[in-house]
């Protein structure tokens, strides 16, 4: 599938109808989502034929992109059942089989070795400090091949150090820096959205 075609399909997905601010519910736009998965597939071979988990899948954008690029088995996890229903509908509209699990990422007890690759756009921890690192920690426990994730550029060194020292990652690389439109979370904010600099990371777990 061509990049433009993937981006187009992702642009047609339904997204959060009434986002829950505490859960940092906003979608990864089609531009970023398509590039993230395209790079994972074409540069690293981490998607096609693999078992791919989408942590905090929301309405399913990243997991669906993985399925469109040939992932053999996609498992989306979210703490919010309304989002999971939208994700199921999005997958069905594209005639894709996506597996969904309703769970808090912090209490996953999956058997090791089944999941190859984790993709995620975690909560940045604006509402709950450290939320993105909780996701990353679990991602590195579950994945046997690679974890793709987005984190604020301002936290780059902290993310790198934590991944390598505390979460025992074998490598942690920033693949590119992106601009991300994040909805403002408080009423007193004047603008509806802010443009945040975000890093796209690839982490490799210890084998």
């Amino acid at each position: 599938m061509k990049l433009k075609q993937l981006e187009g399909l992702l642009g047609d997905l339904d997204q959060f109808s009434s986002p829950n601010i505490d859960l940092e519910q906003y979608p990864t736009g089609p531009h970023i989502a398509s590039r993230l998965l395209f790079m994972a597939e074409n540069t690293y071979g981490d998607i096609s034929g693999k078992v791919v988990a989408d942590f905090g899948c929301g309405c399913g954008t990243l997991g669906i992109a993985a399925a469109l690029l040939g992932a053999e088995y996609v498992i989306g996890v979210d703490i919010d059942s309304n989002s999971l229903e939208i994700a199921a509908q999005n997958a069905e509209d594209l005639e894709l089989d996506i597996n969904l699990v309703w769970c808090d990422i912090k209490s996953l007890t999956w058997r090791d070795g089944i999941v190859d690759t984790v993709v995620m756009n975690p909560p940045f921890g604006t509402r709950k400090k450290g939320a993105d690192l909780d996701f990353l920690s679990m991602g590195l426990k579950v994945a046997s091949q690679a974890v793709y994730s987005l984190h604020k550029t301002t936290t780059r060194e902290h993310v790198r150090r934590t991944a390598l020292r505390e979460f025992n990652a074998k490598s942690a690389d920033v693949l590119c820096e992106l601009r991300f439109d994040v909805p403002q979370l408080y009423k007193f904010h004047k603008k509806k959205e802010v443009d945040v600099a975000v890093d796209l990371w690839r982490f490799v777990p210890q084998s």
């Binding site: 059942s81 597996n99 309703w102 996953l108 999956w110 058997r111």
Partner: protein, 126 residues
């Protein structure tokens, strides 16, 4: 919920030492055809808990898998077809997963297992 997912999930209840496999009770299931990929099946084979797969498939009325399987079977097309069907083509739509130690039930609705816990009952790995 397909049986590969069932083969991966385990009970996340606090204090449970062996929460795998979750017992399965099924009210409704469906079958959907999936493209056959022998390489994927061969890759997955060493990672699968075979007995859990056999038992779960039986709960769904599919009893064609051998009780025991070793890698030499992966050369047999007939075996691969059955293994493919059990692992990827059976979907539990409505039912419950049951923690083998505590009996805590995790409902499966519209194909989605609900593994969400109350704050005080969970096994928080983080």
């Amino acid at each position: 919920m397909r049986l590969l997912t069932h083969n991966m999930l385990s009970s996340n209840i606090k204090g449970v030492s062996n929460g795998f496999p979750l017992r399965l009770e099924v009210e409704k299931f469906i079958e959907k055809e999936v493209e056959f990929n022998a390489d994927f099946l061969r890759n997955m084979f060493p990672k699968i808990e075979w007995k859990a797969l056999v038992d779960a498939a039986k709960t769904l009325g599919y009893a064609d898998l051998p009780e025991e399987a070793d890698p030499s079977l992966l050369d047999s097309d007939d075996f691969l077809k059955k293994y493919h069907h059990a692992l990827l083509e059976l979907h539990v739509e409505e039912g419950v997963l049951i923690c083998p130690e505590t009996g805590r039930k995790f409902p499966v609705n519209k194909g989605v297992p609900n593994m969400l816990l109350h704050e005080d009952e969970g096994f928080w790995r983080l």
